[in-house]
């Protein structure tokens, strides 16, 4: 019998370990340190309030900004691998906030796990003590809210529900596609941000363009093309009755804000609303 | 028999009755040449091939052994060729240990409609075995005296 008890005890402690495992490696990325400080600051404040500790990876480097799709691009993926390996060293899940960083880190991680060509060459370059093979789990802040903390817990923690605010979620491309790798939500009918909006007490507004591209990548190259995309998205959200649009992506934020011509809607980072609802927005 | 005098390999081919045996017949009716060193033994299914038969052949002086079965998913008995594939994979991993070159055994999927493939496979296999040379590892050298 004693053996049985020991086993049960062991499992309980292990289980408790999992429940309390609320420490994450955190990768902010360049933009969150400069133009998107609010995204970062409110994200950290809210996480702390919800009991999740975000430990910023030391000496982090650029994620690469854009995922190189070419099969033979290795060097441009290396800095992302360093970040992933840093999280592996701490045995923590890696949380990201910026959609672009998340996209790059998740896809490079997938390459390191499943693409032998990339894995071998990247490890040959990096010469790590132990080769990195995609061990780190990369999750977006929203996934942390949904899958680790839980929207119910979040709802219970809300002190300042945003009642009556009609919010349109803007997903963009980078969080959802390609769904095979990102595995974030149904790429054509996502619900995670709408569920988040409900959790903070506001009303989600569903509109057709929420998962269509805003043209952020082309904003520098061809402003006119980006403006066209932004107008399509904003008018779709506005016609559906939204007061406000939220996003997780600094590039989308910039684009929806700076390149709107016909329709204009206020654009905010989702973390700002989160901090507001949790009553931590004014803390600093 | 002198060993050095114009040596040609001796090859045993185990063919599934439902696919490759018929494929071999088709190669015949199409008059597609392949070397006479290949001798076919008919078995009801590739899964009837006991790996021991392969070892027996090597022991008795065969230079190459090939198993031909139905393409995956096409087995007449639905799953036989999968068993055969697994068993042969196991055998392959043992051959090195036994001192037989890996190239002396092969598994190929040849359907009843693939006469040309059968002939091409046999030509290729005979070439491989000819390049490898005589199999001396497992035969009972006393027999050669």
């Amino acid at each position: 019998m004693w053996l049985f008890d020991e086993i049960v005890k062991f499992h309980i402690t292990e289980l408790e370990g999992q429940v309390n495992h609320m420490k994450y490696s955190y990768y902010p990325g360049c933009t969150l340190k400069t133009k998107a400080k609010e995204l970062d600051r409110y994200g950290r404040l809210s996480a702390a309030k919800l009991g999740a500790e975000l430990e910023e990876i030391e000496n982090w480097q650029c994620c690469g900004a854009v995922y190189p799709q070419a099969e033979d691009e290795i060097a441009t993926k290396l800095s992302a691998v360093r970040t992933l390996d840093a999280a592996k060293q701490k045995d923590q899940e890696l949380v990201t906030l910026c959609s672009a960083c998340h996209h790059v880190l998740k896809r490079v991680n997938d390459d390191m796990k499943n693409n032998e060509y990339v894995r071998t060459r990247a490890n040959n370059y990096l010469k790590l003590d132990v080769p990195y093979e995609g061990e780190t789990s990369v999750i977006h802040y929203l996934e942390m809210l949904r899958d680790r903390i839980g929207f119910d817990t979040l709802k219970a923690a809300v002190v300042n529900p945003l009642k009556g605010v009609k919010i349109a979620a803007y997903y963009g491309c980078l969080l959802l596609r390609p769904s095979g790798v990102m595995a974030f939500d149904d790429p054509e009918n996502p619900t995670i941000i709408e569920d988040f909006i409900k959790a903070i007490g506001a009303t989600p507004i569903k509109y057709s363009q929420r998962n269509e591209c805003c043209g952020g990548y082309i904003a520098m190259e061809d402003k006119g093309a980006a403006q066209k995309r932004v107008d399509v998205i904003l008018s779709s959200a506005k016609n559906a009755g939204a007061d406000l649009i939220i996003t997780a992506c600094p590039l989308c934020m910039y684009n929806l804000d700076a390149n709107a011509t016909e329709s204009v809607l206020p654009v905010k980072y989702f973390t700002e609303l989160l901090a507001d609802a949790l009553g931590v927005k004014e803390e600093d | 028999m002198s060993v050095n005098q114009e040596w040609t390999p001796n090859i045993v081919a185990f063919c599934c009755n439902w696919c490759s045996y018929a494929g071999a017949d088709l190669a015949g009716s199409g008059r597609m040449n392949y070397p006479a060193n290949v001798k076919i033994i008919r078995i009801p299914c590739s899964c009837r091939l006991n790996p021991l038969f392969v070892l027996r052949a090597f022991q008795r002086g065969a230079d190459g052994v090939i198993l031909c079965g139905c393409h995956p998913g096409d087995c007449h008995y639905s799953t036989g060729n999968y068993y055969a594939r697994r068993r042969m994979t196991m055998l392959f991993s043992m051959l090195d240990y036994l001192g037989i070159e890996r190239g002396r055994t092969r598994v190929e999927w040849v359907s009843a409609a693939e006469g040309a493939k059968f002939a091409a496979t046999m030509n290729d296999f005979v070439k491989t075995i000819t390049d490898l040379g005589e199999n001396k590892k497992l035969e009972d050298l006393r027999c050669k005296k």
Partner: protein, 130 residues
Amino acid sequence: MSLTNTVTAEDLIRISGVDPSKCMQCGKCSGACPSYDEMEYHPHQFVAMVRKGQIEKLMASDAIYQCLSCFACLERCPRNVEPAKLIEAVRVAVIRQQGMNHMTANDIPEKLDEKLPQQAIVSAMRKYSK
């Protein structure tokens, strides 16, 4: 640029990892493309033209800079052809050639505005130059 004719369909297939022969020319990629009207050649044409070896036209076209890399074509393709990867491969094949950078550091100051996030500059440099 004369160098362009040294790029073959095989090069693009290798760089992209895309197998254009899987395409059934249904046009769903182009039906999904948000940048369709800006592009001289459309996603399904990239696949068809690489298959036929008409590489020079693609490399000379501005369409390679009009792709938004939004992956809508790739996500919705019923045959997992991944046109976005092929378009990027053509772009990469162009900018890897000497003197073919589509954007240089010198171009950046005039495009800057005070709100533009760093990430936009880095990604533009990554996408348009080598």
